[in-house]
């Protein structure tokens, strides 16, 4: 149940007028210690303007490093015509969001969708606020609003040479109605959006301010460390905590059906004591599952005639039967952990007044709120989630709110005291929602001229949606499992894609660019076909893309910027790939060398992207750089399943790339305008195929299974 609340009441209730509660809106915990801010009116629900002209722009999405906190503020500021130097941000409160009937729209932060799914209402809010401010000034001056202009936070009435600032008229403006359809600027006239102002979150981060979920400090706070059944879906059978309970600083043991936690006055003490708790687990029915049994399951499925049809153009099996030549291959990818550098963490506090507060690193504040409410048994209105900065998200902290639920259950046993749950790295590594392992069999038929006339792809892959968003499954299809094949832009007369959903017990989730394995498979296989018929991989792709297809545009842009076909330094080879997704079109050329021992060195990556518009070019370049090195890790990373559990436990056996592996990344914005594509994930898609196609060019060896054995091309 939600309650209606007028803006006026809200301002009072939230303390945006005068009170102290408004401070809790402010994202950094550090801000809690700051003196109370002066009264400030909410001009629109996204914009608060202080009498001294400071502008606070509310952000509903989360900041996990992708930079959209700044990008979203740029879009509002652009239309508001305020002084960018006076802009700061605060996260919209999930509790107020519920009370105000979801006024801030989606809080979900994933799918590279933060900007592309909210730009319109944010820009409109900025434009409406600007009109309200101008109108308020015009009324004060008793002149027509049309004679007034606004720029840089200053309103001018040229005929009378009068000026005022936003802060001076914000109170009056806040009483006006916001226009529903204010006129928006043409992006070619942007001054703040489309530029690269420095990110608003950087200064606090380089100072080591306590902005992350794991940094929360509260009076009398306790600390929790957790152990979950090593075999997924297993349960606690018995617990002997006698020794642990006697250890210094230990305040208590929490036993739940599927986990045990120790609560102490310091996290290290909690974790040390946890190691002394003797837990007998009931592993359930999955204790014999291994990577081998999962691969066998996938392999068998490829011959199962019962498939979900993801695409059917022409008659692929028929055309394959009569093709001049048939090329066939199977490709495999392992499970992969998100490995955010900040492990899962959440702090919960059941307060004496019957409310619950949660501080956490979340990709969806609303989902965290719902989880807190459900786990506590309290109504949504009695719960609040304080959104903290994320020490990495990559999809781990969105749909799955397991750690929030656990922290609430733990704190419930210590009502009245805040309890901060921090997962150990080992727990984080072994209890993820992994990038699905998958196996794909592709068959291509070419005619006598080498033209691709038929392609038939069979995808055996666990379904992320079946676990996390079952309502998203349509006709037995999970778009994250079939993408890139089901919507391939290559013009092939006979194209069939079959999905074989197989769901082992290993939890799967949205890993940065869900479904990106398919880009590796398709783009390496197309490369195989091109080589098999003696065609240049670039030319072959171009011949199968329609004119006007944005995929073709980025492919040409990447090839041109990389100098495709021009000589390279001795020992260096190129590979190329395209893939679209998350609203954008991308192509990549990788330059690599392979040393005599088979180790791959990536020297240079040229990345072309058409996202329509680019809101903050430098932040988008940073996303491209991040995507490249994040995915270079795939060459040697895997989460292996043995005895029903994950084998790897930390960064010693799940290595992340280090600084020496970072190639030069050149980003080409091949923007055609007119649409809004994402940047957080599109750059991930082509990394593996571009590199592995270059490896083939260098060695003649086709890598069809990841990770590389012993990290080298054998």
């Amino acid at each position: 149940m939600t309650t209606t609340i007028s803006r006026r009441q809200f301002l009072k209730a939230s303390g945006a007028i005068g009170g102290g509660l408004a401070l809790e809106f402010s994202m950094p915990v550090a801000a809690l210690a700051q003196p109370a801010l002066a009264a400030a009116p909410e001009v629109t629900h996204w914009i608060v303007i202080y009498p001294d002209d400071r502008v606070v722009i509310r952000v509903a999405r989360s900041e996990m490093g992708q930079g959209s906190l700044t990008g979203l503020a740029q879009l509002v500021a652009e239309e508001l015509e305020c002084d960018w130097n006076k802009v700061s941000t605060e996260f919209a409160s999930p509790n107020e969001h519920v009370k105000r009937k979801r006024i801030w729209g989606s809080m979900s932060t994933g799918g590279s969708a933060g900007i592309r799914t909210s730009h319109e209402y944010l820009r409109k809010s900025g434009a409406a606020a600007r009109e309200m401010l101008v109108s308020a000034a015009a009324t004060q001056w008793n002149v027509p609003a049309a004679e007034c202009t606004a720029a840089n936070g200053v309103i001018t009435h040229a005929p009378s040479k009068r000026k005022t600032s936003y802060g001076k008229v914000a109170q009056a403006a806040s009483k006006l109605d916001a226009a529903k359809e204010p006129k928006l600027k043409d992006p070619k006239d942007w001054k703040i959006a489309g530029q690269s102002p420095k990110r608003l979150d950087t200064p606090e981060k380089v100072r080591g301010k306590p902005v992350f979920g794991i940094d929360v400090q509260l009076p009398g706070m306790l600390h929790a460390s957790i152990a979950q059944c090593p075999v997924f879906l297993g349960k606690v059978k018995s617990v002997d905590s006698a020794e642990a309970e006697k250890m210094r600083g230990v305040k208590g043991i929490v036993r739940q059906p599927d986990f045990v936690a120790v609560v102490a006055d310091n996290w290290w003490r909690a974790n040390q004591a946890l190691k002394k708790v003797k837990v007998e687990w009931d592993p359930g029915e999955n204790a014999a599952v291994s990577s081998d049994t999962i691969l066998a399951l996938f392999k068998q499925s490829l011959d199962d005639p019962k498939v979900a049809s993801a695409r059917k153009i022409g008659d692929a099996p028929g055309a394959l039967a009569t093709a001049a030549k048939v090329i066939e291959a199977e490709y495999y990818s392992p499970y992969l952990n998100h490995a955010t550098l900040e492990p899962m963490t959440s702090t919960a506090w059941f307060k004496d007044d019957g409310t619950l507060d949660v501080w956490t690193s979340t990709q969806n504040g609303e989902a965290s709120l719902a989880t807190a409410s459900e786990a506590s048994g309290l109504p949504l209105e009695k719960c609040e989630v304080h959104k903290m900065m994320l020490g990495g998200g990559f999809g781990r902290r969105g749909a799955a709110q397991d750690y929030v639920k656990q922290s609430v259950l733990i704190a419930k046993q210590f009502a009245g005291k805040p309890v901060k749950l921090v997962w150990s790295r080992e727990e984080d590594m072994q209890h993820g929602f992994y990038r699905p392992a998958s196996l794909v069999r592709m068959k291509a038929g070419v005619d006598a001229s080498g033209k691709l006339v038929a392609i038939h792809s069979k995808i055996a892959c666990p379904s992320i949606l079946a676990l996390l968003r079952p309502e998203g499954i349509k006709d037995g299809l999970d778009f994250t499992a079939i993408r890139t094949f089901s919507d391939s832009p290559y013009t092939v007369a006979n194209d069939q894609v079959d999905y074989l959903m197989r769901n082992p017990h290993v939890p799967v989730g949205f890993w940065r660019a869900p479904g990106l394995q398919n880009s590796f498979y398709r783009e390496c296989f197309i490369d195989e076909v091109a080589h098999a018929v003696g065609k240049d991989p670039l030319e072959y792709r171009l011949s199968m893309l329609k004119d006007g297809d944005k995929n073709k545009g980025v492919l040409q842009a990447a090839a041109k910027a990389a100098g495709w076909g021009t000589p390279l330094q001795k020992g260096v080879f190129r590979g190329i790939a395209i893939s679209d997704g998350f609203g954008s079109f991308t192509a990549m050329v990788a330059e690599i060398s392979v040393d005599p021992k088979g180790a791959i060195k990536v020297h240079r990556v040229v990345f072309a992207i058409d996202s329509g518009y680019v809101v903050n070019p430098d932040a988008c370049r940073a996303q491209a750089e991040g995507n490249v090195i994040f995915n270079i890790g795939q060459l040697y990373q895997a989460n292996t399943v043995k005895d029903g559990r994950i084998v790897e436990s930390n960064f010693n056996d799940f290595p992340l790339p280090r600084i020496g592996e970072m190639p030069k990344v050149e980003t080409v914005f091949a923007s055609t305008g007119g649409f809004w594509g994402g940047h957080g994930e599109p750059g991930a898609l082509c990394v593996m195929p571009a590199i592995l196609n270059a490896v083939f060019a260098a060695t003649g060896k086709r890598v069809r299974s990841l990770p590389l054995k012993d990290g080298v091309v054998a």
Partner: protein
């Protein structure tokens, strides 16, 4: 009681001698700028300076630094920012930022020892892990400090 000097301030801590410095800093002294990432000295998010040397505080027993000078990100430059932190802003190095305090501690220690580090020096000293992929900018920012310029990066 273990006597610690952290950021120029003396503290007496009643903690187990084997407690890692990281947790003494975070949970006892409430200095949260030093991060937990792995607990096994792999990631470097917990890097602090002990008598000027970069140290992984997650595997450093608190008793072993008694009487030594410990500097954390909070005490790196007071008031204000040091050149490395300024270069980090100028080059827009952080993404999520979680590993960056450790990166900044490692880079500051490197530059103190080698004011003009080569790429190989940087590879050897900057063993910190970053999941977001800021390595290219880390390198640029270090070179910029070495070059004496908080050089404007073109936007």
């Amino acid at each position: 009681m273990i006597k610690l000097n952290v950021n120029g301030k003396s503290h007496s801590l009643d903690v187990e001698p084997e407690m890692p410095l990281l947790w003494a800093l975070r949970d006892e002294l409430k200095l949260a700028g030093t991060k937990y990432g792995c607990g096994i000295a792999q990631c470097g998010a917990c890097t602090v300076h002990v008598d000027g040397e970069p140290v992984r505080s997650c595997v450093t027993p608190v008793a072993s630094v008694a009487g030594k000078k410990v500097v954390t990100i909070e005490g790196l430059a007071r008031p204000g920012l040091n050149k490395v932190q300024m270069a980090w802003i100028e080059h827009q190095v952080p993404q999520c930022g979680y590993c960056q305090t450790g990166m900044i501690m490692a880079a500051t220690a490197l530059l103190a020892k080698k004011p003009k580090p080569t790429d190989a020096d940087i590879d050897a000293a900057m063993t910190n892990l970053c999941r977001c992929g800021t390595y290219g900018r880390v390198r640029e920012a270090i070179h910029a400090v070495a070059g004496g310029k908080p050089a404007m990066k073109k936007a």
